[in-house]
């Protein structure tokens, strides 16, 4: 089976000179959760923004294909309409609009209703008339995911969905992601919390300084000594970014 998303040799620059990604290649299958891990500043967000078309005239080099159709350098609206939805780290909500209005905008340009969304996140029905910015962090994440799902995406790009969530809530969100993937949506999941990501991802890549330094199945990565040391070594959920303090020489 050929992959849903195929990125080959992607190179992204900021301001035409700051190289944030160099020759990144990856493939994501339909219905697969693909984890992207890496330290701060590695280029994880840049990768998602490049795929979503949010960086004008980028990628500088390389190709990105969605189900065989080239999408690199297209306008973000176009890419969105082809079935790619990007949920940024800040959730990308319309903070001054109500929950109901946010969801309505998720239905832009298509017929549909909120039934499935409300079934997945019942809290959104209760909060319908409330301004998005008054929701708790977890509720905001649910709104962002619920709204993204209304677009019935083929590919969902998620930037650190567990950020700022209590473990309980993070688990709820991850469970929702697994459900979404089971229904056929491919997910690229950027996470700082490697343990969490590797638990639900089928495959994952490690990005460092704009390059993929390691790629494989979740199990391979979990068992890889360097990953264990750098990303899982001190990992309790609370100390999710503590690996930085323990940076040692690595073999890659």
């Amino acid at each position: 089976m050929s992959a849903l998303l195929k990125a080959a040799g992607v190179e992204t620059l900021y301001f035409d000179r700051i190289r944030a990604l160099s020759s990144v290649s990856l493939e994501v299958e339909q219905g697969e959760i693909f984890g992207v891990l890496g330290p701060n500043g590695a280029g994880k967000t840049t990768l998602l923004r490049t795929i979503a078309g949010l960086l004008p005239d980028q990628p500088e080099k390389g190709s990105i294909e969605l189900a065989g159709v080239r999408i690199e350098r297209r306008r973000p609206e176009e890419i969105a309409r082809m079935g790619v939805v990007y949920v940024p780290e800040d959730r990308g909500l319309f903070r001054e609009l109500t929950v109901a209005e946010n969801l309505e905008l998720g239905l832009w340009g298509r017929k549909g209703n909120l039934e499935a969304t409300h079934a997945m996140f019942p809290i959104l029905r209760e909060r319908a008339g409330q301004q998005a910015e008054t929701l708790s962090g977890g509720e905001q994440q649910m709104l962002a995911l619920g709204r993204a799902m209304l677009r019935r995406p083929r590919l969902l790009l998620l930037d650190e969905p567990s950020l700022g969530l209590a473990p309980q809530m993070a688990n709820t969100v991850l469970a929702a992601l697994q459900e979404i993937a089971r229904a056929g949506t491919a997910i690229i999941l950027v996470e700082q919390n490697a343990r969490l990501a590797l638990r639900i991802a089928q495959r994952a890549a490690i990005l460092e300084a704009g390059r993929i330094v390691l790629q494989g199945t979740a199990q391979e990565l979990e068992e890889h000594p360097d990953v264990r040391e750098a990303y899982l070594g001190v990992a309790t959920v609370i100390a999710q970014k503590a690996w930085r303090l323990h940076r040692r020489r690595r073999r890659w």
Partner: protein, 293 residues
Amino acid sequence: MDRFLQYAVAGLSAGRLYALVALGLVLIYKSTRVLNFAHGDVATFGTFAAFALLSRDHSFWIALPAALLAGAAASVLFYFGVLAPAQRKGATLLGQVILTIGLALILQGVVVFAFGTEPDRMPFPLSDSESRRFGPVYVSELSLGTLAAALAACVAVYLVVQRTRLGLAMRAVSENLIAAQTLGIPTRRVLAFAWATASALAVVAGLFLAPALLLDPFFMLDPFLKGFAAAVLGGLGSLPGAVVGGLVLGVAESLAGAYAGIAFKKTLAFVVIRAVLQVLTEGLLGKPFKERV
């Protein structure tokens, strides 16, 4: 007291026009983050389109929509042809403002080329000299017409922005462009619509101002600056603020002219603005500026 009322009413009359101009400026500023220096010239352009039709004895009801359309078309062309590509290329805000100045100069040139610079009377169905009496106050027909038009325009904008799906998209795009793009909302068309609406508002102001004075290619300069001031006074990001700002400015100006001498008419109005902004730094109805992420 009668004198005070009379001047206050005259001020409200001018203020309504400032409010229309300010409303358009704020609409554009809120949605595209650009201060549109061509706003007055778009109004001039539309008004001259109406002038051309009216002076060839076409009915006002043909000239009005034609003028609105001309103004809207000019700014939509500008948005799609110049501004949107520039924004996509990452033009700075200053660069974008300068692009609008370019549009202003082009429109000015077109109007001067087509109509010359000789002042002309605008044929208009409402008279500036016929007036009605309301208690102690006289109000001209034109002023009543302006009131009706301004009210209709404000209500229409309110309904579109607050009650329609397109208005919802406008609010969404103005708050978080990237999120709107990633939801597949056609943001450029939504923004073009905001520009068109704003320009139509400015043309309405131009149309109802022109009959009160002699029409020349630069007649919107002063109302444009006042509208700008009114927008700042109201808090640059607030649509109701723009309307309130316009009315306050109009009244302040008129009363200053009456009681402090005509020479101070303009200066005093700006002193009022300065004083208001000293106390309310975000303008009358503005919200503290939040950086968009």
